[in-house]
Structures are given as structure tokens and as C-alpha cells.
Symmetry: C2
Subunit: 184 residues, 2 copies
């Protein structure tokens, strides 16, 4: 795709959110997003776990801690989509985003514990992925899957040391067994 | 839907997996799944956080710890789908599952740290949600979204104390502000 899609994860807490935030980053990466920024506590351990995946599985995915979201959002050139179950039906957002230029970048914002009301104002879209409480990981996954389709999930990234694409099911099983052995 | 869809989460670890496992359960619940079972460490705190959501947001969703997956899987009447990036394209699985009776129950298995090879054998489908490492939450979300569609995410559950369905965007925003106040 010609547009870049970035993620902004708000109010990360090292202890409580480490794995959740990592999963947000990994699902975004799998869909070809290129930038992952987060506010809250800087977390080098989390950054390392994401970078370890990039090292083995390839691709370009930049992870960056921000001291404040405000200037980042205000300087962002493109459309900002904030996920909240109090927002509008995501299918309406997707239909609207498909009307804008395909070159325009997108920033997807997922909240932490308490999202400042300002985020609702600064975003072009406040988008629900359903009207039930569930998961910011699920929200990003469903939005990107509905927006981009899932072909991209089956591709390999440039520079990967491991690739499952173009392998038969039997071959993928052999790779899996090798991975388990390497890990042991 | 006439079929029940259940989740089995393997090898839960209280300390490390609590929020991930909770998100797996909540995304499954949002899609109308009715049963959530898990092996590994029993975690009453996690169960409580899921049950608190059910209490406020309604619906029928049974959470149960299993001491062993083996007898549960062997006694399960229906089709078993295990998620693994070493599996087959999920769109093939979905096409195959759509061919079987709509009354046949489904059990979706997501792994913990190391999935016993036996799980691959005991499952009818080993299903990848892409060939990249990402998230069991993302996997469940994308599978159920592609399989069931996303209409269901916008419905309210029976017995809910809060409902965002049939509210305007402005009303949902008022409910949000009320929730923040109640939480403070």
C-alpha cells in the first residue's frame, strides 16, 4: 500500500500492559503498519520483544516512545481514527476512509485505562468495533481485517529469517517442530 | 445462532497471562460465544473480571477452569479448530466449516506458551490467521469476524445493565461521560 498506517497506544504501563501493548504492535505489524508509538511509561523490555520479532520475521516497523501525545497528534498529517466502544459503527468509518485519497496516512489510536476527552476531539473518527467491551487488540485486528482484507497476513516481510509463505502444510509443520527444538 | 461456540485457552499463567486471557474471553463473548474454558493455573481474579463484565453487559457466558484438556477435548461433540500460525489459511477452514451442519458446535483452541503436539492431532482444523506471529486475541477476533460477520458486535445482550445499541452517537457520548464519573 502507498499509505502508511501508524498506531498510537496511550498510557502504557510497564507492569500491567506489557503483553497487551506488545500484541497491539504485533497485530498492527502483521497487517503492514509501519509505525508504532506509545505514551505512558517507557518500556525497553517491550520494545525489545517487538524488535526481536522484527529481527526474525522481517519488515519495517518502527517503535517509538513519546513523552506526550499532543504534539504528535497535532503534527500528524493524515486522518486520525480513535477506537472507542462509544464511537460510531466501524463500517461507517471504513466507508468514509475509503473515500479519501489512498495516499493519505492514517493514525490509529487505542487507549489505555482512561482516555483524555481531548482525544475524542483531536480525532477525525471515533470508531467503535462493536458496542461491547472487549479488547484493543481485537479492535485493531477487526478494523484492519475489514479495511485491508487478510491476504496481507499470509505474506512474508522483506529481510525475514523465517518464512511460512510458499510452504506446504507439511513443511510448515516441520518448521514448527524445528522451532520447538531450537527453543528447548 | 443455533450452534454454540466455545473457547479453550491452554496453559494459562496467573501472573503473565491474566489480561491476555481476559481479552480472549471478552472478544469471544462479544461475538456470542457461550463457553470459556481454560487449563493451566486456576485464576479466580481473572474469572471475576470476566464475570463483572457479564454482570454489567449481560449475556450468557460460562467460565470454567479445567484440570486437563484431554478428556474435555475427547468428549467434545463438534468440530475443533486450533489456531496456530503453522496451520492452514483460515479462509479454507471457514469454507470447510460452512459445509458442515449449522447445529454442530465448535471449540476454538488457543495455545499458551508451548502447545503440546497432541493438540494438533486432536483438532479437526489447525488454522493459521496469517503466517506471522501476532496474537491469540487477534486470531480469535479475525476468525470470528470473518466467520460470523460483525453485526453481532453491535447488539446488546439479554440482561444487560448498560446498552449502547439503539443510542445515537451523542447519547453514547453522554453514557461514556457518566461512566467516567461513576468510575471516579
Amino acid at each position: 500500500m502507498s499509505r502508511n498506517i501508524g498506531i498510537l497506544r496511550l498510557s502504557h504501563r510497564h507492569f500491567r500492559d506489557q503483553r497487551i501493548t506488545t500484541h497491539v504492535a504485533l497485530i498492527a505489524r502483521a497487517f503492514g503498519c509501519t509505525t508504532f508509538t506509545y505514551t505512558g511509561e517507557m518500556d525497553k523490555e517491550m520494545e525489545k520483544s517487538i524488535n526481536d520479532i522484527i529481527d526474525r520475521w522481517g519488515g519495517t516497523f518502527e517503535v517509538q516512545h513519546l513523552t506526550s501525545y499532543r504534539s504528535y497528534i497535532k503534527n500528524f498529517k493524515g486522518k486520525i481514527i480513535h477506537f472507542s466502544m462509544y464511537g460510531e459503527d466501524h463500517r461507517k468509518t471504513i466507508a468514509d476512509v475509503k473515500k479519501i485519497s489512498e495516499d493519505e496516512d492514517l493514525l490509529l489510536i487505542v487507549g489505555g485505562a482512561k482516555v483524555p476527552p481531548e482525544i475524542y476531539e483531536l480525532s477525525h473518527f471515533n470508531t467503535a468495533i462493536g458496542f461491547q467491551p472487549h479488547s484493543e487488540i481485537g479492535a485493531i485486528a477487526i478494523f484492519l481485517s475489514d479495511f485491508l482484507g487478510t491476504d496481507i497476513l499470509y505474506q512474508s516481510f522483506s529481510g525475514s529469517k523465517i518464512s511460512l509463505e510458499n510452504n506446504t502444510k507439511a513443511n510448515r509443520s516441520i518448521i514448527r517442530q524445528q522451532e520447538i527444538k531450537d527453543d528447548a
